[in-house]
Chain length 376, copies 2
């Protein structure tokens, strides 16, 4: 039993909010003093584009480079964005001061208005405010969650772990068939790990497979924490998985369909994504292990012919792109992805049901773990 | 405090499975005896098409009519479907006997195989097996959940209610920011209501609004059960809301965006849908009250001009369709929907944030309930 620290999250949350407020205030002060000195106020915004993103071989994750853009107030093409940046910062300040969180859609409404005496809106659509939020994240070196902002979450978890969420102690081993719904903000000022009796984390892409494993109470016999991302992992789920791994020192195994989309879901959990490269340090998990579903499982687990789904041209193109990713350069990965292309078929996790309803619980996963049959 | 009955769900679940098995066995016996008597075995499958769906004025819900199709074994155009129906029933029997549940995708895999000596598949895609599942539902007068089958669920709930889910007692007032993830199967053989200290159910379409209300602990001060369907309600969420209403005798208030899509979400919760007309008795909730967001809220709550979103041609067409729905025939509804068309704008629930982050919690909902300002 590991017993992590137990301060109350509520005081922590206020303290963290103060720190974030401090960083925002700094940016504002710099702007004000530039104005007072008759200079052109400028914000330095790191560039979040493919041209400034690379794979960090050392850290084994996708990261943002050093290039930044100077956003100037006295510049016709930048003045609007400059104003928008401060509008977003102002609303975030309101959130932090009132100790409340809200959605990025809500923030759009909070900051949107028609400028007096004109027909000009501060923001016309959320497509304009979302990138400004990211600007503030990187400029103030604060995560979106630290700005008290969130998007819709996804994902469920059960297992041999007790957490504290906003003061409520929740035993994830006592949540029936439904499970704990992963919230948007899972930072340690909201969620704390209390008692952990798990030896690993199992992440399954598909709800149906999670439900099978939960119904069989796999997590109890195997002593694990069972997470489903319900498709591509949302930020909250990815962050929670990373925290489980780093703070509780648990290995993480990922189970996805044997197709390029499944590999991509795994890849994002592991190395991060290009669009959220500035968040990799907090979201990526280079140690995440791929336990399946592998193309080789077809033979290994004697699956019948009719579980095969033909690879389409787009699948093959996508798989070939993956072959070229630096994080899949290892020969084991090259072998795995090449096999998918050469054998020409995909498979879904549901295919194991051909061997019996609980084959995945009773045979497949135990054998994979026993044989240490995974890729990393 | 209401205290409903407390038998253990696990024995109930087995008993219910036996009942369902009995109905399936009956269908099979009838087929066998027809064969023994040299007759053409026939299944009577109620027709699930618009032509056999109508609005039941008495019950105030969309219902399936009496028309049925005879599915014959010795009929070239029906033999395949006849075979498929029995394949599905066979797999369902396996599920019921082993007391396990699975996804409709999984059932497709369980029943799919290539017929020996041919290149013919029993099922080519899930598009073929899903309708057969519905056939079995209506033919055996058993809900999909009673067949131990499910699709991906959606939705979260918190509030002043304690439930039992597969033997685990869960206090919905102690689930932090995440909440209880609504499972796919919420029948009383899985989920029981234990201690209820709530006076009503509040259903919000949007996760972000649910999160706002949960962060403000609205459900605690208002003594309610707070549900989000996270968009269009999945079967599990709809069924849970109906059970909360009927078994705990709680009024249900629904809060959606002020647009045709929001009205449709409300309408499905209330009257059911055409595609699931055969399930209305179990899913529809004619007593569900619409507390907003109404087009009239724009003036009533002094919202600024820039929360208005122009109605598009498709929105107007959709709203006009709704004007013609028999369940929106009441003059109050005609007034509401006509106002949306005539004023020409939509609004989202997030619009209330223009009046303050917690305006919806502290002003809007309390006033609506106090003034009994809802439509039904």
């Amino acid at each position: 039993m590991k017993k992590p620290k137990t301060e109350t999250p509520s005081s922590d949350r206020k303290q963290r909010a103060q720190q974030t407020l401090g960083r925002l205030t700094n940016l504002a002060s710099q702007t004000l003093s530039a104005l007072e000195q008759g200079q052109n106020p400028t914000l330095s915004i790191p560039i979040r584009a493919l041209s400034n993103v690379s794979f960090d071989e050392q850290r084994r994750m996708i990261q943002l480079g050093d290039r930044a853009q100077a956003r100037e107030f006295f510049n016709k093409s930048m003045a609007k964005k400059f104003m928008q940046t401060f509008l977003v910062m102002d609303s975030v300040k309101e959130l932090l001061e009132s100790n409340k969180t809200t959605s990025i859609r809500d923030l759009f409404y909070m900051t949107k208005h028609t400028i007096k005496g004109t027909k000009e809106n501060t923001f016309d659509s959320q497509d304009e405010s979302d990138p400004i939020i990211e600007d503030v994240e990187v400029a103030a070196d604060s995560l979106r969650e630290e700005l008290h902002l969130f998007a819709n979450p996804k994902g469920r978890v059960v297992g041999t772990l007790t957490i504290e969420d906003c003061g409520d102690e929740i035993d994830l081993a006592r949540l029936g068939s439904g499970g704990y719904a992963i919230p948007s903000i899972v930072e340690d000022f909201t969620i704390r790990f209390k008692k952990c009796d798990a030896e690993f984390v199992l992440v399954v892409e598909k709800f149906a497979v999670w439900a099978r494993l939960n119904e069989d109470k796999y997590w109890r016999s195997a002593k694990c924490i069972l997470v489903t991302t319900e498709g591509q992992g949302a930020r909250g789920a990815r962050r929670l998985i990373q925290r489980l791994s780093s703070e509780l020192k648990l290995p993480v195994y990922v189970l996805v369909d044997a197709d390029p989309w499944g590999l991509y879901i795994y890849s994002v959990i592991k190395q991060g994504s290009i669009s959220l490269a500035f968040e990799s340090m907090r979201l990526a998990l280079p140690g995440a292990r791929f336990i399946g579903m592998s193309t080789y499982d077809y033979q290994e687990f004697k699956l019948p012919e009719d579980v095969k789904i033909d690879m389409q041209a787009t699948d093959i193109a996508r798989a070939k792109e993956m072959l070229a990713y630096p994080w899949f350069a290892h020969k084991q990965w090259q072998r795995e992805i090449s096999a998918m292309i050469e054998m020409g078929f995909k498979m879904e996790l549901e295919a194991f049901s051909k061997r019996g309803i609980s084959f995945i619980t009773e045979e497949y996963i135990p054998k994979k773990l026993r044989d240490k049959d995974w890729l990393q």
